[in-house]
């Protein structure tokens, strides 16, 4: 049996994040629909468009290692999205729904940040220069999305506190 190399690990993790991005693509419209604050809706819609671009970048990276763009079931993202779905049901029709959606989205973003960080480091180790650049681009986008969500979280909380005080 062949030894599993770093190249295999890189390939496996690529399949993992490819699966994750495609699942996220279907989850984002549902989250946008559920969101109450128009700014949050817009953020989810923007991120959906961005995610399409991120999927295309992954296809390019698969090309660089001469592999077909195929996903592999990722229990990590499945668990995170499952939690998000549950919390959406539980807090539906409540003022807290937006807060719940932001929290779920940030857990997803952080999963992606860790995965892309890992992939970029391994791409460097494997001397796949072009892949390093592509993965780095996506990593930057995910970090920016997470920051934008943090700001929305704070304004959402202040909004709810003001309503409660009235």
């Amino acid at each position: 049996m062949a030894e599993k190399t770093l190249q295999d690990l890189f390939h496996d993790t690529l399949k993992d994040i490819y699966y994750a991005e495609r699942k996220i693509l279907t989850a984002l419209p549902k989250m946008a629909k559920a969101a109450q604050d128009p700014k949050l809706k817009a953020a989810f819609e923007t991120h959906r468009d961005q995610t399409e671009g991120q999927v295309e970048r992954l296809v390019e990276v698969f090309g660089i290692i001469d592999a077909k763009p195929v996903g592999k079931t990722c229990p990590g993202i499945d668990g995170i999205l499952e939690e998000g779905t549950e919390v959406m049901k539980e807090f539906k029709d409540s003022m807290a729904l937006d807060s719940a959606l932001i929290a779920a989205a940030q857990a997803v973003e952080h999963y992606e940040i860790s995965r892309y960080g890992t992939l970029r480091t391994w791409a460097e180790e494997l001397e796949l220069t072009q892949a390093v650049a592509l993965l780095g681009e996506t990593l930057d986008e995910e970090e920016a999305t997470d920051e934008a969500l943090s700001m929305l979280a704070e304004s959402s909380i202040n909004g709810q506190a003001n309503v409660a005080a009235e």
Binding site: L9, F91, H110, S114, E125
Partner: protein, 162 residues
């Protein structure tokens, strides 16, 4: 009056309590599977921190007058399932260490997301003291993640020098 946001805050505290308690149980095994002594040390260091994080969370529940009960976290269970299947498949030590670092970082990032959320809500819902406790843990999780990144990058330097 309990608001829905209070429920969400408590739910998320229960989720993260499950994470920390589970890490306390599972990290020793992960350390045993790691090969490099620096990685072992990093994991065991995080084990000690997780014990403190459990205590901090129990203090927070106490301050809120609520029982410290944990709620099963599907996200962590998914990540640990991945950890077991990926590392079980790799016999070469250095490659397995690379996989372990990656999975530990995925877990760290989940914790960072959760504690970030809780700290944001805490000022409004739990008060300043609770927020400060959560921020302490958040900082420690970020540092743990940075240590792991340094370990991952150190490997590149080693290989480059070889």
């Amino acid at each position: 009056m309990i608001s829905k946001l209070d429920d969400l805050f408590v739910d998320t505290l229960q989720d993260v309590l499950y994470v920390e308690r589970t890490l306390v149980k599972r990290l020793p095994k992960m350390a045993a599977v790691a090969s490099s002594s620096e990685l072992k040390d990093a994991i065991l260091g995080h084990l000690r921190e997780s014990e403190i994080h459990v205590e901090r969370l129990e203090t927070i529940f106490d301050m809120m007058g609520k029982p410290a009960s944990a709620k099963k976290c599907e996200a962590l269970e998914g990540l640990l399932k991945e950890a077991v299947s990926v590392t079980g498949d790799i016999s070469e030590e250095e490659t397995r260490d690379a996989a372990i670092i990656a999975l530990c970082q995925a877990i760290e990032h989940y914790e960072i997301a959760r504690y970030g959320t809780l700290a944001c809500w805490a000022e409004e819902l739990g008060g300043r003291e609770i927020r400060l406790l959560l921020e302490e843990t958040l900082e420690e999780e970020k540092e743990a993640d940075q240590k792991l990144s340094a370990l991952a990058e150190g490997r590149i330097n080693q290989r480059a020098a070889a």
